[in-house]
Amino acid sequence: MEPTNIKDPEYFHKVVDCQYACPAHTPVPEYIRLIAEQKYTEAYMVNWESNVFPGILGRTCDRPCEPACRRGRVEKEPVAICRLKRVAADNKDDVKHLMPKIPTTKNGKKIAMVGAGPASLTVARDLAPQGYELHLYDEQKAGGGFMRSQIPSFRLPETVLDEEVNYILDMGVVSTFNTRVNSLAELLTKGYDAIFVGSGAPRGRDLDLPGRQEAKANIHIGIDWLASVAFEHITKIGKKVIVLGGGNTAMDCCRTARRLGGDHVKVLVRSPFAEMKASPWEKEDAAHEDIPIIDNHVPKAFIVENGKLKGMTFDRVKPVRDENGKRSLVSTGEPEVFVEADDVLIAVGQENSFPWIERNIGIEFDKWDMPVVDPTTFQSTNPKVFFGGDAAFGPKNVITAVAHGHYAAVSIDLMCRGEDITKRPSPYTNLVSTKMGVHEWSYDNQVTTDIRYKVPHAEKKMTLKDRKHEVELGFDVATGFKEAERCLNCDVQTVFTESKCIECDACVDICPTSCITFTMNEDSENDLRKHLKAPATNKSQDLYVSKTLPTARVMVKDEDVCLHCGLCAERCPTAAWDMQKYIYNTTKASKVW
């Protein structure tokens, strides 16, 4: 194999699994170290710079970082990254003075944003410090988008949401709430230099089954119902409730129903339990609130008696896979199941809908009636119109919307400066030694064996009484420290300098996880993997290959289960190994922290 090019900014970025998996590439180990040092404000700001909503995400993020966490490959569970983010948000000092200064003299460019969700707010946050005039439109009475309308208050208190939304609105954003944009063509005539569409995926899918019309008074579309609860148009529900669907919206619906008078709430889902779309922890939380999740049940009909909903019938199915692995649900042939219900909540998916975008204004739509959006620049086929968040590529999550916002803001900024928006600015990177003494490092390189700490919950009898009572209490400072110590510091890289190596094998002998091998090189990676000291079967993780050494061998390090403990560097007599902290920041439209 060719020697690894560690100058490629993506090489070491990939080693920091959590950061690499995060759509916004939040420098996770960096802020976890700051939490361990009790520098909560700094930890918050590192987050805020990259993901804009640390307090919100610390409670509600889909956490793609956690399944990626290296710790999950050396022991059972990853670091509780998401809940550590909340520790930073909960314990920070006032951060208002750390917010970017907004110039009073504007730069003369005017940008409109449609929808006040995470994508638009991120665009605003990134552009405001450059002096852009920012106009935000939303049909709701306050900002936040689906973070406000669909995430229940027992998961995300309004105070946390308001705080982080207001940091952005306070940057001089001109917001127009309670106003629905009904025509993009009209907006285009208002002299904006760019328009960002972050209007989400606002339409909940319906189920057109027998009885749907007759019982419509007691059948609700999940996301609309959640919004009505959030804005207090709905305050109660029947005692027996069926929730249809297996995603996180279904989980939010069933738990909200429990708080509005639903004593017997059941979730019925078509797919097997293990294949449900909901995050495992959300399923656990629902189970904790005595909500049975009944899988392999396909809804057949709404049963109506005397014009009133009585319940629903379901067909029992089992999953069958064809030779291509494609799953289909086949009826077991058993009799239909009847489940009683006073109300039914349908949470079987969301769709995009753009009735307000005229089809003759240069925005191309594809066969699924989705706008054609460039995945890098987020520009539509109308150069002035950009899309981001769920509006761009369908329903995802908050952190993805934030990432889209960053990219779109960079594009808008480049365009307004008259530059080519396809020439993307390279990320900011830095690689600096952590060596403090002969065997001392500026990071805590001891690896603790503590297993993942559980976040304490408020008492169920309290939380089920009050829709706004937050269920998760968050880690206290002491537990937060212990959980932070579980982080392996994957951003502190093992950097190898061939010219210093005397091939004494000290690193090979000391490495606890047998990552390092000195061996003859091979042409192909697969062949080289066979020569390594320990099985190197995880091909998603790179091999770090040195140039040829004096004995004609090469050093090969399998990055897969490296603990970043620094022992290779401690036992290296010539400092051919060094532990160097790698900083990787995606470039934003403005430097904000």
Binding site: I502, A506, V508, E570, R571, P573
Partner: protein
């Protein structure tokens, strides 16, 4: 500085026949200098015991004093161990060995512990053909007392301060051969592909197995002009042969040209398979082995690999007809047969 190794290991470590992974054979974290050759030898011992499917509790680690003699703390935490007085390891090992022949005795010593203070002990353990593995971690200097030349420092070799050694060195492998060692090998700490099979074979050998392993002292003897530095040894290492240890009942797959291979059946039925690099050398001929050592010395080379083996040897237990049962398992009436028996014996001596 790290005072412990993290507990996590590679999740897919292979298991040996006993069901152990290699980490079960590890010891505490080393306190030797970073890059010390001794640590590599410790790692080679760990690997050899793992691959030989040795139960750690069937091993007794014996050592004296010195950097080398600290290493038993760094391997085989689950084994027995005795850290004796400086240079006295052979006596303690002899005692232990006589008391229980069922264990694998692994003596670890250094050039000072063996060739200076312990020389008088070492030679007798060799000539008695004590059934043990005796590894000398040979760095040619006294690393624990700031690197003075030891008795194995080669004549003409330069130390870190630039002083040349004027004294003749003791060639431990030649000495062991001379005194009747039945397994003699030399190796280099930086060459595990050679060292590990040698240690494995030494452990299977029935009799005194001597391994002289050049182990550079990175702190005091890794300078230009030293004959025990990493660079010097790599440049001047000359192997007698490639060396494979084929466990009992395993099919032999490696094939060499006829005339260059040599097979030696070990005590337990496993096979040493050699691919000779030295034409005139015969590992079962003592004279040829001595000549090869002397030739290498004259050429300024370090001869490594297996040098001599005599699998027909009778060890000390056989010579003394000792008890198969360990002494601690013998009951008092067997150990102390009583006055009547004593009288009987005395009568035969009158």
């Amino acid at each position: 500085m790290s005072y412990a190794r993290p507990k996590f290991r590679h999740p897919q470590l292979p298991k040996n026949e006993l069901g152990y992974t290699q980490d079960y054979y590890e010891g505490s974290i080393s306190t030797l200098c970073a890059g010390c050759g001794h640590d590599s030898i410790s790692a080679a011992i760990v690997q050899a015991c793992f691959e030989n499917n040795i139960e750690p509790h069937r091993v007794a680690k014996m050592s004296g004093i010195g950097c080398s003699s600290k290493t038993p703390a760094y391997f085989l935490s689950h084994s027995h161990g005795f850290n004796s007085v400086h240079g006295r390891m052979p006596s303690v090992a002899t005692g232990a060995n006589m008391a229980n022949k069922g264990l694998v005795y692994l003596g670890v010593s250094g050039d000072g512990d063996t060739a200076s203070i312990g020389m008088g002990q070492f030679v007798h353990a060799v000539r008695r053909n004590l059934n043990m593995v005796y590894i000398v971690m040979n760095n040619g200097c006294y690393g624990l007392t700031k690197g003075q030349d030891s008795a194995t420092a080669d004549k003409g070799s330069k130390n870190k301060a630039g002083n040349v050694n004027d004294f003749e060195s003791i060639n431990l492998a030649s000495l062991a051969l001379e005194l009747g060692a039945t397994f003699v090998a030399q190796s280099f700490s930086g060459d595990k592909t050679q060292l590990v099979p040698l240690i494995k074979a030494a452990m299977k050998h029935n009799g005194f197995a001597f391994l002289n392993v050049i182990s550079p002292c990175v702190t005091f003897n890794n300078n230009v002009g030293s004959t025990k530095s990493y660079d010097f040894v790599r440049e001047h290492q000359e192997a007698t042969s490639t060396f494979d240890l084929v466990p009992h009942k395993t099919e032999i797959t490696t094939k060499y040209d006829e005339g260059t291979t040599k097979s030696v059946v070990m005590h337990d039925g496993s096979l040493i398979q050699l691919h000779k690099l030295e034409e005139k050398w015969d590992p079962q001929n003592k004279l040829s082995a001595m000549t090869a050592l002397e030739n290498a010395k004259n050429k300024g080379e370090i001869l490594t690999g297996l040098i001599y083996i005599n699998e027909q040897s009778e060890d000390l237990h056989a010579l003394l007809n000792t008890s198969d049962t360990p002494l601690n398992k013998l009951t008092q009436d067997v150990l102390c047969p009583g006055t009547e028996k004593l009288k009987e014996i005395n009568k035969t001596l009158r």
